[in-house]
């Protein structure tokens, strides 16, 4: 992360910053592609929800945050973990369920945590993280800390009571929460208009008198700019902020999903406007980056992934004797 970037409410699109943004998105993309491969090899089990197509949001928002801000995400959180700065080795080992994973292997793909990075999961209950974010922000407020708690969730969460309860509480108590809704238009397989009477998600937040806006989540520049504005507002003590990032998931909901609910053409059409392809095209066209830079990024990332796989493979399984560890402080 570049020093001083959060002071600006607009991203400064320097070569270094663009390279950073692109590299983060490509890291996530290639990492997840590798995960899908490893899943078919049964190295990764359980549910595996891929973020492919939505990378601009995690990368764009995360860049607007400080090191001591808290981040909560969902079960589709590999991208957020990597963007937040968790070492890829630990994330990959967690995907394997190994001892050196970010949660010691206990959580797996859906429950990546890192206390040092204030990355508070990995919550696999839709909407379940929102009240926690409200509480974390409440603690900051009561203790006089100017920290921001950012909570990522999908548009499916807007149908949950916890979403509305949290919107209300955060605004009522003017808590420093940045709500980031990643609206990929499908709650698993149910299209937004089949599940919501009001499909304009950010309008729901606005009804709680929360500052709220919708942005193109496939455009990392727009996401980052909006996130910086939002974070500045929240950090200033003006209460919560709601950012709806409209996006699209290119892969299935999880690995075992034949995608009966949408056509291949629809996916293809969307992929053409994917966040990486768009940003990469733009930086090349604008002459900010060159193909060689991109090749270098790809090479870097490939190396990092190979190392992460090797790390995860080499890591030990937790001993059965430790089964009951981490249930309570006092066993």
């Amino acid at each position: 992360m570049t020093a001083g970037k959060t002071e600006a409410t607009h991203p400064r699109l320097t070569r270094a910053h663009c390279q950073h943004l692109l590299q983060q998105m490509i890291r996530i993309r290639r990492f997840e592609e590798k995960c899908a491969e490893l899943y078919t090899q049964e190295k990764i089990r359980g549910f595996l929800h891929l973020y492919i197509g939505e990378e601009a949001i995690a990368v764009g928002v995360m860049d607007a945050l400080e090191a001591d801000d808290a981040v909560l995400a969902t079960y589709r959180e590999h991208g957020h973990a990597l963007a937040r700065g968790l070492p890829m080795n630990k994330v990959m080992a967690e995907m394997y369920g190994k001892r050196d994973g970010s949660s010691g292997g206990r959580g797996g793909s859906m429950h990546i945590f890192d206390a040092e990075k204030r990355f508070v999961g990995g919550n696999a209950i839709v909407g379940g993280g929102l009240p926690l974010a409200v509480g974390l922000a409440l603690a900051d407020r009561m203790q006089g800390r100017e920290r921001v708690t950012t909570c990522f969730f999908g548009e499916g969460a807007a149908a949950e009571g916890e979403f509305h309860e949290s919107m209300n509480l955060a605004t009522l108590w003017k808590l420093p929460v940045l709500f980031v809704c990643e609206n990929n238009f499908y709650a698993m397989g149910t299209r937004l208009d089949l599940s919501e009477s009001e499909t304009d998600i950010h309008a729901k937040a606005a009804s709680y008198r929360m500052p709220s806006e919708a942005v193109d989540g496939m455009n990392i520049v727009e996401v980052e700019a909006a996130a910086r504005r939002a974070v500045a507002t929240v950090r200033a003590g003006d209460g919560p902020y709601f950012l709806e990032c409209r996006t699209y998931r290119f892969r299935a909901h999880s690995m075992f999903d034949p995608q009966l609910y949408r056509s291949k053409d629809e996916v293809k059409e969307r992929e053409k406007k994917g966040p990486i392809v768009r940003f990469q095209g733009w930086v090349l066209d604008a002459g900010i980056l060159h193909q060689a830079d991109i090749d270098a990024i790809e090479a870097d990332v490939a190396q990092e992934i190979d190392a992460a796989v090797a790390f995860a493979e080499a890591s030990e399984w937790e001993a059965i004797e430790t089964l009951l560890d981490h249930v309570g402080a006092v066993p």
Binding site: A70, G101, S102, S103, G104, G105, R106, G107, H111, F113, D114, A115, V120, G121, G122, N123, I125, G128, L130, P131, L132, A133, V134, G135, L136, A137, L138, A139, D140, M142, Q143, G161, E162, E165, S166, N168, L169, L172, D325, H326, V327, G328, A329, V330
Partner: protein, 330 residues
């Protein structure tokens, strides 16, 4: 120094003293502030500590319970008050899926030092949505500590260690106890591990907790008149259960009856019974008895409510049956 106060006052005093002792402690919940608490436990706290630390919440059990969990993770020591255990079902997701799991899911990186208090139990003719005893639902969940203080001393003294516990604690206050008077020594410390022997006896072990404890003690007193000396175990802590205490009592008496206001099926009584079978089967002289609530949502009319709940005669009958004595005492 001892004082004679009600359970309600003791519960309130515990919160007051905890808040006075530690600025991280605050209380939040429906009507805890301006209203003074549904059961008047928090009366007067708003005036003393202000609205930041005595925080009225909207009727959003999941939202504010989750917020309490989050605040605990953020370094505070919240006391979340949920009006009744029935309403806590709206917060079950936060308690079970978050509070109880976060430490484990995160490989021990995060912990949730929250205390969630709630009223439980029947006896006030509040009918089927305000009267149930679902303590066992929480006692089922690893990652939670579940307390059921039955005495004035316990309801006061359990709060401080509960707040010191790095993990979530659920604290049940039976509605029929609030007006009960008892002796409180504020300086006495209690632990959050042990069951208590409230009455010693050699003939049979009666195991109970919370509101049923007093009925059980009453039954034990009546049994004594009939020459039956019952030992009464107050579980105090419903999770983790202090099996050592009740098992060693049953080893002594060789007979046990469990009095539990929860419904019989899948009850805490069933769990205790199973543990007795597992651990002391060969030392038993009678099948383990259970006195539980009837399998019906708690009805409104007094006579039906009373019929649905464990009562003294039923406890006596169960104890006598376990001793091979049928019918009414001589």
């Amino acid at each position: 120094m001892s004082e004679e106060i009600t359970y309600r006052e003791a519960a309130g005093a515990a919160i007051h003293d905890a808040m006075a002792a530690d600025p991280r402690v605050f209380i939040m919940g429906e009507d805890v502030g301006h209203y003074g608490g549904t059961y008047a436990v928090t009366k007067g706290l708003l005036e003393t500590f202000g609205p930041e630390r005595v925080r009225d919440t909207p009727l959003s059990e999941s939202g504010f319970t989750g917020a309490g969990i989050g605040a605990a993770m953020g370094g505070m020591r919240p006391i979340v008050e949920i009006m009744t255990v029935n309403f806590s079902l709206l917060a079950l997701d936060q308690i079970v899926n978050n509070a109880a799991t976060l430490r484990h899911m995160s490989g021990g990186q995060f912990n949730v030092p929250v205390v969630i208090r709630m009223a439980t139990g029947a006896g006030r003719q509040l009918a089927a949505q305000h009267s149930h005893s679902l303590e066992n639902w929480y006692a089922h969940v690893p990652g939670l500590r579940v307390l059921a203080p039955a005495t004035v001393q316990d309801v006061y003294s359990m709060l401080a260690p509960a707040l010191e516990d790095p993990d979530p604690v659920i604290l049940f206050e039976h509605v029929m106890l609030y007006n009960r008077k008892g002796t409180l020594d504020r300086s006495a410390a209690v632990d959050l591990r042990s069951a208590a022997i409230r009455r010693e006896g050699r003939d049979i072990t009666l195991i109970s907790y919370g509101g049923s404890l007093w009925k059980t003690l009453e039954a034990a007193a009546l049994l004594a008149e009939d020459g039956i000396e019952a030992e009464v175990v107050d579980l105090r802590v419903l999770r983790p259960l202090d099996a050592d205490t009740f098992l060693s009592s049953v080893r002594k008496t060789r007979r046990a009856v469990i009095v539990d206001e929860g419904w019989r099926t899948g009850s805490l009584a069933a769990e205790i019974s199973a543990q007795i079978m597992e651990e002391v089967f060969w030392e038993l002289d009678a099948p383990v008895g259970r006195v539980c609530s009837a399998e019906v949502p708690i009805p409104y009319p007094r006579h039906l409510e009373e019929a649905a709940l464990p009562q003294v005669p039923a406890i006596i009958a169960a104890a006598r049956a376990a001793l091979g004595k049928q019918g009414e005492p001589a």
